[in-house]
């Protein structure tokens, strides 16, 4: 029995420093213009308000005239984009109420709620994901925007987010 306990303690001591190391080396969001695969949830290591861009570009010098995301067509999809700091506002909206935040994002609160909650996402999940992509946009540069989209034909809306560069 003592031997078993000794083995367990030894194993714990072996593992603990590695874990502590990972925790202490707080990750940051590096500039990455290649891997832009959209997500519906932020990576597990992302902590909103704590994990930030490694080197943040300043937010673009544009003042949105509205909190609504800008509608644009991308292929046969309906898409919506916004600047990082407006995305942060939307993230906050979603954390407060997933039922209503989609009005500013895709112009349709009910459909946004239906699509996102139908994928098992909570307002916190959606908000955290939007904040993650807002930070990705900041890390990439001032011409980067957060966007979301539907499949071709305007359906379905998948509650996914990513970033792209304005040309």
């Amino acid at each position: 029995m003592k031997i078993v306990r000794l083995v367990i303690v030894s194993l714990a001591l072996c593992v603990w420093p590695a874990t502590a190391h990972v925790a202490s080396a707080a990750p940051c969001i590096a500039k990455d213009t290649q891997n832009l695969t959209p997500t519906t949830t932020a990576p597990s290591w992302y902590v909103p308000g704590v994990t930030g861009p490694c080197v943040a570009a300043s937010d673009p010098i544009v003042s949105p005239q509205t909190a609504y995301w800008t509608f644009f067509q991308r292929g046969w999809s309906d898409s919506w984009r916004t600047v990082p700091y407006n995305a942060d506002y939307s993230a906050r909206d979603c954390e407060v109420s997933l039922r209503w935040c989609g009005q500013y994002i895709i112009g349709d609160a009910y459909w946004f709620w239906y699509s996102c909650s139908g994928r098992g996402l909570s307002g916190y999940d959606v908000g955290r994901n939007i904040r993650y992509w807002a930070d990705r946009a900041r890390a990439n540069g001032s011409n980067w925007r957060v966007y979301t989209w539907t499949e071709a034909g305007g359906y379905p809306y998948g509650c996914g987010f990513s970033v792209y560069a304005l040309s």
Binding site: W76, W111, G118, E151, A152, G153, G154, Y155, P156, G158
Partner: protein
């Protein structure tokens, strides 16, 4: 006891299931629903063809008419502004009873079978082969037209077909 039976029968008779939405008839070759053109139509024309929507979301640039419960819809018609008027550009069909003139109950077909029949029997061209990633989806194009058909399913939701104008 007899009263309970009467109440039960009466309840069943007026339940939503009993008053189910009519089965929609689609003709992909002529792009008609219930015998009427469905794409490129103004909202009033869609109401004339399909009746009053169960739910209506209308903005300045876009609108959506839903028929049936959102989690069990039979049709969703999407409009976008063209010039000064809203016109339908996409219709999503999600009732498994949907009957297509040539293919019959096409939403009951396995997706790959549906894809091959759209190609072999209606002469459509595959623009995006059916496959499953975050969602399952395929897209085909009508011959000599700017209309495409998307089909697939989103986790947990019934299979759908979306007929949309690819202009």
């Amino acid at each position: 006891m007899r009263l309970a039976v009467v109440v039960f029968v009466a309840a069943v008779a007026v339940s939503p299931a009993a008053a189910a939405a009519p089965v929609l008839r689609l003709d992909l070759a002529t792009q008609t629903l219930q015998g009427k053109a469905i794409l490129g139509q103004r909202p009033q024309a869609v109401v004339r063809a399909l009746g009053r929507p169960t739910e209506r979301t209308q903005g300045r640039r876009r609108a959506r008419f839903s028929y049936g419960r959102e989690d069990h819809y039979s049709a969703i018609v999407l409009f976008r502004r063209e010039g000064s008027v809203l016109r339908s550009w996409s219709v999503v069909l999600g009732d498994r009873r949907l009957r297509e003139t040539k293919l019959g109950l096409l939403l009951r077909l396995p997706p790959l079978r549906l894809q091959s029949r759209l190609v072999s029997e209606l002469g459509m061209r595959i623009v995006k082969r059916y496959h499953c990633a975050a969602i399952c989806r395929g897209d085909v194009e009508m011959p000599d037209s700017n209309v495409r058909v998307g089909f697939g399913r989103v986790r947990g939701d019934p299979p759908y077909l979306v007929l949309y104008s690819a202009t």
